[in-house]
């Protein structure tokens, strides 16, 4: 995993990466005002007097935002600071009405934590790496400038102004674009499990500032650059790759890396300079005198802990040990909270219908979900949340296979009809007459016809060409329109062929 190296003219280079992830806290109201946070509203319709920084307006912390950040910290096994404080970060910009952002520099809400990542979650042999989380603090988002509304003017939309963000700062523990990608993916998964951030990177709910430096293996850390606001896992990996190569080129040409802020251009796949350290703002951080220190009591922390769901790592281990699922299946089903939720509903319902323990039905259910339903959803371009088939319908379908009402191949047909019509599988089987038959008379009649029509092959079979047995099974099943019980067909064919 850590063997990623850039081959330069002067030898190998190691890449050192740290990520600062800004995650919008899932909350109906903003961090310090009661205004709504819903995405996509008309500009400047979700702005309170506080968000617009009217004279004399004061921030009041929103307990739900704090709760979500604490739960996130707990999910990362991080230290929760029972005493934290808000600071003002002062700078002037048109999207920042107060002239300062309320953030936490000196005393963040959450301290050291860790995220366990595997470069390939689906490979049980893949190396596991611990990526340190330095801190999580909560802060206000700024508004948004719109430059495309008027030929000479820029417009300001304050809907985002004051929305709560968690800034999750990693240690510089990553050594390859793939590791950074795995970290971000895992972090996003955990946030979605916890329910503290929806992780919608395309809507800006999650974005990353990417810190990159390069060095000869074993040497001191190099000078880093920070690429701001990268908004997808793929772009983060691309930005790192480009930026690391650029730094190697700069160093090998005898120049030095300038500590600076850069931007990633997704169209060109490259980073470019935004401002250097010399141009960096002096933010004049100081404790926000409008707010008292945030002091959390044990009851609050207990409540936060009690509402934490089972997290992906624990769930994956449970699927493997308790349900006996293969590592691949367990990894796929737990990667996203929605998938796991769907699977667990399917599992519970299947166990109920089949009157069996969950562990007994788990493997068939997981295989069906991964190979059949995922395949179908993929074709439809839908994710599991928007599946036209419910877990209950899936369980009913699996039940029909388990009790021999339909065969596996008929089940595939039934699923297709379910996806189209939304009908229950039992109804589809009934309406279309897809029930599997074990009626020996009907099967024997079809077998007789098949043998009659293929006398040459019968002779060959009897002459020792055993492989032809499959051909007769296929012909018989075809003649039965797939509805014959395959086991019965097998037995009757063997008898008929002697």
């Amino acid at each position: 995993m850590s063997s990623y190296r850039i081959q330069g003219a002067t030898g190998e280079w190691e890449v050192v990466i740290g990520l600062e992830v800004h995650a919008q806290v899932t909350s109906k109201a903003k961090l310090f005002s009661g205004a709504s946070t819903a995405f996509g509203a008309e500009p400047n319709t979700q702005v309170s007097l506080v968000d617009a920084a009217m004279p004399g307006m004061l921030p009041v912390p929103n307990r739900e935002c704090i709760r979500q950040a604490v739960r996130t910290g707990m999910a990362l096994n991080a230290v929760i600071n029972k005493w934290s404080r808000f600071d003002r970060k002062n700078y002037f910009y048109a999207d920042l009405p107060q002239g300062y952002q309320i953030s936490q520099l000196y005393h963040p809400l959450v301290g050291e934590g860790v995220i366990e990542v595997s470069l390939d979650e689906k490979d049980p042999e893949a190396e596991i790496k611990q990526i340190g989380v330095e801190r999580i603090h909560v802060e206000q988002d700024a508004g948004k400038l719109m430059h495309d509304q008027h030929p000479t003017r820029s417009y300001v939309d304050l809907n985002r102004s004051g929305v709560a963000l968690m800034e999750i700062v990693s240690r510089p523990d990553m050594r390859s674009p793939a590791e950074a990608g795995a970290y971000l993916t895992k972090l996003r998964s955990i946030l979605r499990y916890v329910g503290s951030c929806d992780g919608n990177m395309d809507q800006g709910s999650m974005r990353a500032d990417v810190n990159v430096s390069v060095r000869k293996p074993g040497e001191e850390l190099g000078t880093r650059t920070e690429t701001k606001n990268v908004n997808s896992v793929r772009f983060v990996m691309a930005a790192i790759e480009h930026e690391a190569m650029r730094q190697v080129d700069v160093l090998e040409s005898g120049s030095k890396i300038v500590q600076e802020t850069r931007l990633f251009d997704p169209d060109k796949g490259e980073t470019r300079s935004m401002r250097s350290k010399e141009e960096a703002h002096d933010y004049r951080y100081f404790p926000d005198p409008d707010l008292l220190p945030l002091v959390l009591d044990d009851a609050f922390l207990d409540e936060c802990r009690a509402t934490l769901p089972e997290l992906p790592d624990a769930k994956r281990r449970r699927y493997e040990t308790d349900l006996g699922l293969p590592a691949y299946n367990a990894a796929v089903l737990t990667a996203e909270a929605e998938t796991a939720r769907w699977f667990e509903a399917l599992l519970a319902e299947s166990a109920r219908i089949q009157k069996k323990g969950e562990a007994e039905v788990a493997k068939a259910a997981s295989n069906w979900l991964i190979s059949e339903l995922f395949g179908a959803l993929n074709r439809l371009g839908k994710d599991i949340e928007h599946s036209p088939v419910s877990p209950e319908q899936g369980a009913e379908l699996l039940g029909l296979v388990a009790d021999g009402t339909i065969s596996g191949s008929i089940a595939k047909q039934v699923l297709e009809i379910m996806l189209e019509t939304g009908d229950a599988p039992g109804k589809i089987v009934e309406d279309k007459g897809l029930k599997q038959t074990s009626d020996t008379g009907a099967i024997e009649a079809e077998i007789a016809k098949v043998l009659e029509a293929n006398q040459d092959k019968v002779a060959e079979y009897r002459g020792g060409k055993d492989k032809l047995f499959g051909f007769f099974v296929g012909q018989t099943m075809k003649a039965m329109q797939g509805k014959a019980n395959p086991q019965v067909v097998n037995e009757l064919l063997k008898k008929a062929l002697g």
């Binding site: 004399g56 004061l58 003002r88 005198p289 409008d290 008292l292």
Partner: protein, 494 residues
């Protein structure tokens, strides 16, 4: 017959309740006084309709036999730092000229809920930065007082609540709201021979009060006597969930708790307040005050507040630091004045707006505040000042082991002439030397008139109490008031 404008809050309230006069008559009398006192420049906006509407509500309620609200029909002056719905609020600065807030500050809303009316918005030092009222962008308030030397020197009403002090002293309103960051209620009260109380930090909501230095700003009451201060403050104070620093504690019935009997009270006299070069008259008044509280039954003892001399420097770091950030929102974008030179970009618009919108004193403090928060200077200034603040608070805590209240002069001098100190910021800042320590510690403190100096100008005595002990402060104030028998009032020359 006594003029209605000679009556204070309690007399007006009781008179309206008892039917001795109507609230309408009160409102008419006061609005008339206000309209005839433009020379004092105490009011930036006059709102007679507001006062008359409250008067009508009070008279109607009485006619119907309803129980009258605590301040029914009492007209008040409101310092322009309070946002008042639909009425221009400028904080004495050009940068907010024309700004009519679409909301009402929590404190003023409480007063209207209590039945009071508003006579108008009172002039003040720009953004409450100043001790003489000379930093107001709309011209300084003139004190109604003049020296007895027969000269016509125009005197300061003090600052920053100079409009409030002048209006109360000149009988333009029975009482007024003020705000106090480092002495802005107490010093002007002292200069104009009225009473003023700054309660414990957090007693009065800051919501809707234009911020100067958030950790210090506190609203309070200014009136002609201690009782009226108690009545007004009782209606201003109270927990407000919209202010995260608001005190979540019940507001006592201070008026009912008033007692000038100080038996059993130990009153400390801080030796560090006896400063070199303090005028003999101030010294003498202080001694007089000591005698008065002893007469009221208190035991007086000397105490030490060893870090007092660091209070003023620390204050003039912390307050500008907070102000430099609080005033960043005045950028010409959303309200108030905007200065957009031809072809100007965003930064140039900010610069032009602030250059023309802010006065010199505001600029001075914004620059000082920006400097002390800058990288490389933060620890040397801001962090040190915060440490001093902690030590000052500890000084008071130590003193409270030996005494219940402190007695000091309010200001190091009587009112000075306008222009006498305006070129010397340090001399101006020294006005706050006795008031700033209790502000830094967030303690309740009040000024009551003690007497006149030899030029016939009022001098005030300050009582400082423990956090939440406004009652103790008011009671000691009342004991001083009864013994001082201060009856002097400025002759109307305006």
């Amino acid at each position: 017959m006594t003029e209605l404008t000679d009556l204070g809050v309690r007399a007006l309230r009781d008179g309206i309740r008892g039917g001795e006069f109507s609230a309408r008559e009160v409102a008419d009398a006061y609005t008339d006084q206000v309209s005839r006192a433009k020379e004092l420049n105490a009011f930036l906006v006059e709102t007679p309709d507001h006062a008359l509407a409250a008067a009508k509500a009070a008279d109607d309620a009485r006619a119907k036999g309803d129980t009258l609200a605590p301040l029914a029909g009492v007209p008040l002056g409101i310092k322009d730092l309070f946002c008042t719905k639909g009425v221009e609020a400028t904080a004495g600065s050009h940068i907010l000229e024309g700004f009519k807030p679409p909301y009402e500050s929590s404190v003023s809303q409480r007063l209207w809920d209590a039945g009071a009316g508003m006579l108008g918005k009172l002039n003040m030092d720009q953004f409450a930065m100043g001790s003489s009222n000379e930093t107001s962008a709309f011209g300084n308030v003139k004190s109604p007082w003049r020296r007895s030397d027969g000269g016509n020197a125009v005197l300061t009403p003090g600052g920053s609540s100079g409009g409030s002090s002048a209006a109360v002293a000149a009988r333009l309103c029975p009482a007024a709201t003020g705000t106090d960051t480092g002495g802005s209620i107490r010093q002007p009260a002292s200069f104009t021979g009225i009473s003023g109380i700054k309660p414990t930090y957090g007693r009065c909501s800051r919501w809707g009060v234009i911020a100067f230095a958030s950790s210090l700003d506190q609203a309070g009451a200014m009136a002609r006597d201690v009782t009226d201060c108690a009545i007004l403050l009782e209606q201003m104070a109270g927990f407000d969930p919209k202010d995260a620093t608001s005190l979540d504690a019940p507001v006592p019935n201070w008026e009912a708790g008033l007692s000038s009997d100080l038996k059993g009270k130990r009153i400390g006299v801080p030796k560090e307040y006896r400063m070199d070069g303090m005028p003999a008259e101030i010294e003498a008044l202080w001694q007089q005050g000591i005698d008065w509280v002893k007469d009221a039954g208190a035991e007086v003892l000397e105490v030490s507040l060893p870090h007092t001399k660091y209070a003023l420097p620390a204050y003039y770091i912390i307050a500008p630091a907070e102000a430099s950030s609080n005033l960043a929102r005045y950028d010409g974008v959303r309200y108030g004045q905007r200065d957009l030179p031809d072809g100007a970009n965003l930064q140039e618009m900010y610069a032009a707006t602030r250059d023309h919108g802010f006065g010199d004193e505001v600029k001075r403090r914004v620059i000082i505040g920006t400097y002390v928060l800058s990288a490389g200077f933060y620890d040397a200034y801001y962090t040190q000042a915060q440490k001093v603040r902690t030590l000052i608070a500890r000084d008071f805590d130590m003193a409270w082991q030996d005494c219940d209240l402190l007695l000091t002069p309010t200001a190091p001098s009587a009112a000075f002439g306008l222009g006498e100190k305006s070129d010397d910021p340090i001399a101006m800042y020294l006005n706050d030397v006795f008031t700033v320590p209790s502000s830094l510690a967030g303690l309740p403190a009040m000024s009551v008139p003690g007497g006149l100096d030899k030029q016939g100008l009022p001098l005030g005595l300050q009582v400082i109490g423990k956090a939440m002990d406004e009652q103790g402060v008011l009671n000691a104030g009342l004991a001083l008031e009864e013994r001082a028998g201060f009856r002097a009032r400025p002759e109307a020359w305006w």
